[in-house]
């Protein structure tokens, strides 16, 4: 079962919820847990799960490289490139790695077979085990590289359909294509929000993604402070179950700031996360019936 944790707005507590959900399940059950940190621009889950990172693989995009001896400057490569990543300028063919999506189209169309592909490193994937036995995998985009999606795709490929494994995925904020690449094929989407005008505004975008991709969703309200009437109303109207509430508390904020998982700050929350998981299981069973 794949559960992705998303939000729309940044800073609502996705990583807080995702990591404590994984920990609660690991401490209270026997099913293997895989945690994927797909927020490859700004991954933070390792702070809370503290894995011993053992393996590192580089993630490369295949960038075209032109063999000048074979190139006739016909510019067919440039014609087909949808991203203007390869151009014939004067007597040279110039490649722009940061615009290149690594699709291979130029290489396929070159009539002289003058294009080969070279690996261009854009980031890394690392994995390791946590003390609780959670298999932790994260991706990190190299600073200065614009495109996170190739790394997210590689992370998702690591999911093999293992029976009874629970996969928890931490996503990046926002609602555009990195989030879509992350949540694709998830069985359930936990949307973490906060009862503020910004939180509600951005939640709508995240809900649209769940509808467009037909992934059932539920909401976790973080930093609740008695002012969530509008938010609750919205959830009710959209048939979005509110699965859990975490109150605003300075003690929690300070603990998170120090890198402590929520269930270490207040251990009672373990039960809440188990209950959250059970609600998701129940919702999915209903869906399948």
């Amino acid at each position: 079962m794949i559960i992705a944790v998303a939000s729309g707005k940044g800073g609502t507590g996705k990583t807080t919820i995702a990591t404590s959900l994984a920990l609660s399940l690991a401490l209270n059950g026997s099913l293997p847990i895989l945690f994927l940190d797909c927020d490859v621009e700004a991954p933070n889950a390792h702070i809370f799960l503290k894995p011993e990172l053992a393996k590192k693989n580089s993630v490369d995009i295949l960038i075209p490289s032109v063999l000048e001896s074979k190139c006739t400057l016909c510019a067919r490569c440039s014609e087909v490139c949808q991203f203007n990543a390869i151009a014939v300028l004067g007597k040279k063919v110039v490649v722009f790695p940061q615009l290149c999506h690594g699709c291979g189209s130029c290489m396929l169309v070159c009539p002289e077979h003058a294009i080969e592909e070279l690996a261009n490193n854009i980031g890394v994937i690392e994995c390791g085990l946590t003390a609780e036995g959670i298999l932790f995998v994260r991706g990190m985009l190299n600073e200065g590289e614009p495109m996170p999606v190739p790394i997210i795709r590689r992370l998702k490929k690591l999911i093999s359909p293992q029976k009874n494994q629970i996969i928890i995925i931490d996503t990046s904020p926002g609602a555009s294509c990195p989030v879509v690449a992350t949540v694709q094929d998830a069985d359930f989407l936990i949307l973490v929000t906060e009862p503020t005008p910004f939180g509600l505004h951005d939640l709508r975008a995240a809900v649209e993604i769940s509808r467009a991709m037909q992934i059932p969703a539920g909401v976790v309200i973080n930093r609740e402070n008695g002012d969530s009437l509008e938010l609750e109303g919205y959830c009710h109207h959209e048939n979005l179950p509110v699965l859990m509430r975490v109150p605003y508390a300075r003690k929690i904020a300070e603990g998170i700031a120090r890198g402590q998982p929520l269930i270490n700050i207040i251990s009672d929350y373990q039960n809440q996360f188990i209950s959250l998981f059970n609600q998701i299981v129940a919702a999915l069973q209903l869906k399948n019936e």
Partner: protein, 302 residues
């Protein structure tokens, strides 16, 4: 013309609240400064929620294209499936080609390899850019339909509109509210800025992402200053950020306390400096703004 971009790395550090406060302070300051505002967080555009805006113009935005298959021309040879590197092309049980629009990268490799020209690219309207007037100045913002690519391109477009507007109407300052992260939309938001203000929070996650966004902006040769928001949450974190900034020669222009008036101000749709000018956060933000004005002046003098 000067441009300041506000970034953070980590989401939720307070960029938008601080940006709105700056816009307010610029207007009510002793020497009012005319500012063009840009909300570059097109996934989650929140700046308008703390301004009183009136939409004046809108323009549809076409993003990248998506492949489509004409079943009448398709011979089901499967070449496209082999060519696609993004697993966006799937075949149904009887071999019919379907394309997953969420996975399609828009590269058109399949189009060029299809032997019967059954595949073609179709551009979709994926968002809208807006020009609005507001109580705090002209605002250029946008909405990207959820799930779409090219947020970087949309950011570039609204920034360019803002630039042209500023030139035509004699504005000397562009203030850009940036998105979280470090990827393409952030790079587009930061482009051509004279100064980047990184809003950081002294949490472990905040510090980790601060380093990444700083490295990214430095890669593009933009000068950086920092402000520490919610500083009283984690005193050791403050020490760590100050040390980092010293090592990286980044000036810390202020510390803003964790203050509920920021959320209260958000609820009534106002910048915090307008809602409660004497709150601890408002006073701190005022000091930061004054320092930034001096810094921008310093850049002007070379």
């Amino acid at each position: 013309m000067k441009q300041l971009v506000i970034l953070s790395g980590k989401g939720g550090t307070g960029k938008t609240s601080i940006c709105a406060a700056f816009a307010h302070l610029a207007l009510v300051g002793r020497k009012p400064l005319k500012i063009v505002l840009v909300d570059a967080d097109v996934d989650a555009a929140n700046l308008e929620l703390v301004l009183e805006i009136e939409k004046q113009e809108s323009e549809k935005f076409a993003g990248g294209a998506v492949a489509q298959c004409n079943d009448d021309l398709c011979t089901r040879c499967g070449t496209c499936v082999l060519v696609c590197r993004y697993e966006a092309i799937l075949t149904t049980d009887d071999g019919q080609i379907t394309i997953n629009p969420f996975a399609c990268e828009g590269c058109a490799a399949c189009v060029y390899q299809c032997p019967t020209s059954a595949l073609s690219m179709h551009q979709d309207i994926v968002g809208t850019s807006f020009f609005s007037t507001s109580n705090l100045g002209p605002l250029f913002h946008a909405e990207l339909r959820p799930g779409q690519e090219n947020s970087g391109k949309l950011v570039t477009l609204i920034k360019q509109k803002a630039r042209l507007y500023a030139m035509d109407h004699d504005y000397s300052f562009i203030l850009v509210d940036g998105p979280p992260g470090i990827g393409c939309p952030v790079i587009s938001a930061a482009a051509l800025s004279d100064l980047a203000l990184v809003v950081t929070e002294p949490t472990m996650a905040g510090i980790h992402d601060f380093q990444r966004v700083v490295k990214t902006i430095t890669h593009f040769h933009i000068p950086i200053i920092a402000v520490i928001n919610k500083f009283d949450l984690f005193p050791q974190g403050v020490g760590k950020i100050l040390k980092l900034c010293q090592e990286l020669s980044i000036k810390v222009v202020g510390k803003i306390p964790f203050d509920s008036t920021i959320t209260e101000a958000m609820r009534v749709g106002k910048p915090v400096t307008s809602y409660q000018p004497t709150s601890p956060s408002s006073s701190a933000i005022k000091e930061v703004w004054q320092k930034i004005m001096k810094q921008i002046g310093a850049i002007e003098d070379g």
